[in-house]
């Protein structure tokens, strides 16, 4: 049994703890983590003895055991039913977290189109989110246009923004593309922050009205919750369908091998453009809902960290897997909330959790090679 891996992991944790809790705590955490890892490893080694239960746990890490469970159709219905009746049983706080999760699920599904399907790194995805939010905010406060009339406009505008960014960016690959998209994200944020006459700069825009359906105004959290469940379902259905279509397959072919993709007749430039625009489209939706729900937007909601967070959701859940990305987004909203108890160490624990996950399951929670088509 190799000792090096557990040793490196526990030393790394100890170093992480050092500046916060001093040498003693660092040593203790080092010993605890090392022992836990060793115990876990030795149990795995003798997994034949405890064959059944442990074998299953081990398999969760090793295979795609979770995917069929998650994708079983009954579980999906049960889950959906639970989501529908949930608002009647929970506190507003839980509902608020659920709403935030839904917004991030839409965002992560949008970014998944670019990163997961087409394999292009986009570090400025938050820019589209911001454009969507500000478009609705401005249309509403300046021109008095309602949510439902403004929504198509803001989604169209973010889609166009996606195209416009992609045209120069797609001449570049890999790292360079990442840097250009990062720059784009910052430019959008800085414009919003400094164009005082239009966006009121850092003060943000307040007094945005909430959606109205047949003279029924959304004002309670429950209303937004159902609105978001509706949009999340639509987003999942459409991205799933596009994923399993001619367009989605073209994206995956480009991700896998761009040269081979071009020689079987895929217009690689065009499809990369599509992926940027299609991803941005969803960010526009999420942004508009965000603005309507908060009734307030300001540039500080759209920092680079948001882009990183959304990217983490995609990678953590399983890049390219729709159910994985949904789980990833949900977890990354939920975990910081659960960890509120340990206030100070919240981000530390979250970071450590991410590192552990990436070591044991680099393809993401529900990611991995799984064929979507069968004979």
């Amino acid at each position: 049994m190799s000792l090096i891996n557990p040793l490196i992991i526990s030393i790394w944790f100890a170093i992480l703890f050092l500046p916060f809790k001093g040498l003693k705590a660092a040593l203790i955490s080092f010993i605890i983590i090392l022992l836990t890892l060793l115990l876990f490893k030795s149990l795995l080694r003798y997994k034949n003895i405890f064959k059944d239960p442990l074998h299953k746990i081990y398999n969760i890490f090793e295979s795609n055991l979770l995917t069929p469970v998650y994708e079983s159709i009954y579980l999906r219905y049960v889950l959906f039913a639970v989501l529908l009746v949930m608002p009647f049983f929970v506190r507003d706080y839980v509902l608020d977290v659920a709403i935030l999760s839904c917004i991030y699920i839409i965002l992560a599904l949008g970014l998944n189109v670019v990163v997961g399907f087409a394999g292009l790194l986009n570090l400025g995805f938050v820019a589209f989110y911001a454009i969507g939010a500000y478009t609705y905010a401005l249309l509403n406060t300046k021109l008095g246009i309602g949510f439902w009339s403004a929504l198509p406009f803001s989604m169209l505008l973010t889609t166009i923004a996606g195209f416009l960014l992609a045209i120069p960016a797609l001449r570049l690959r890999g790292d360079y593309l990442a840097i250009v998209t990062l720059g784009f994200g910052e430019i959008v944020r800085l414009i919003l922050n400094n164009w005082d006459t239009l966006t009121k700069g850092p003060n943000g825009i307040s007094g945005i009205s909430t959606p109205v359906v047949f003279s029924f105004t959304f004002y309670k959290l429950t209303h937004f919750y159902y609105l978001l469940i509706f949009f999340v379902v639509i987003t999942i259905l459409i991205t799933k369908r596009v994923h399993n279509s001619r367009i989605g397959r073209a994206w995956i072919a480009i991700r896998e091998d761009e040269i081979a993709a071009s020689t079987i007749g895929i217009n690689t430039t065009m499809y990369k453009l599509y992926s940027f625009a299609f991803g941005a489209f969803w960010a526009g939706l999420a942004g508009s809902i965000f603005a309507a729900k908060m009734q307030f937007v300001s540039p500080e909601s759209f920092t680079f960290m948001e882009s990183v967070l959304i990217l983490c959701m995609v990678i953590l859940g399983g890049s390219g897997s729709i159910s994985g990305v949904v789980v990833g987004a949900f977890l990354l909203v939920l975990l910081p909330e659960l960890l509120r108890e340990v206030q100070l160490y919240r981000m530390l624990a979250l970071g450590a959790g991410l590192v552990i996950l990436m070591i044991f399951r680099p393809q993401g929670i529900l990611g991995g090679k799984s064929a979507s088509l069968r004979i």
Binding site: R241, A260, A371
Partner: protein
Amino acid sequence: MHLLEFRNISMHFGGIKAIEDLDMRVKENQIMSIIGPNGAGKTTIFNCITGLTKPVKGSIFFSGKDIVNLQPHEIAKLGIARTFQNIRLFKEMAVLENIIVAQHCRTSSGLVDTVFGLGRFRREERIIREKAIEYLEFVGLYDFANTVSGSLPYGAQRKLEIARALASEPSLILLDEPTAGMNPQETGQVMELIENMKKLGKTVLLIEHDMKVVMGISEWIVVMDHGVKIAEGIPEDIKNNQLVIEAYLGKEY
């Protein structure tokens, strides 16, 4: 009738002349091989035909149309498909999906059809699936249909690449060393496959080092050396051509 015609094609990489003033013709429904020592410019010819590199001079006519300035995907749509010397499969896709995606340029469902699941989308999906299964049966990979293609054995990967090339419904198919690294039995299967392609009416252009394959199935052979065509003819003539023997073995022999 000539399906493919090279006129004065030259391709330089910096100071290296990969191809120099090449004239070449490929007859329709013919199996033609390009042979030559390493660095003779064979793969560069393929790259020029498929639009991956642009020749510095000359023109390439395919079915009477100059394709030199077209993009790779446009050339694929006209009916040219290829395999690669170093296999380039879509490794994380299932075998069946590899074939399905290759029918991209023969299908036309757009975003609207897809999102609303319109009739055209459903029909097309069904047809390409059925066709994909046919292509898999043609190359003998039906049993692997649901396997992730990256985990196939080497010989099967080469065959899958051939099936993928066929799936884009080309009239001209370019095979870059299709039997490299195969055992004699697999080589035999690929030779049979190539002959079956001819029966389907395809034109096959082949780069190959295995002389048993080249001499066994080619109807016409072009010999390249240092970017220049040094000979062409039927297999019997090439075997006895003094220039070819010199290029391969050196002058003393």
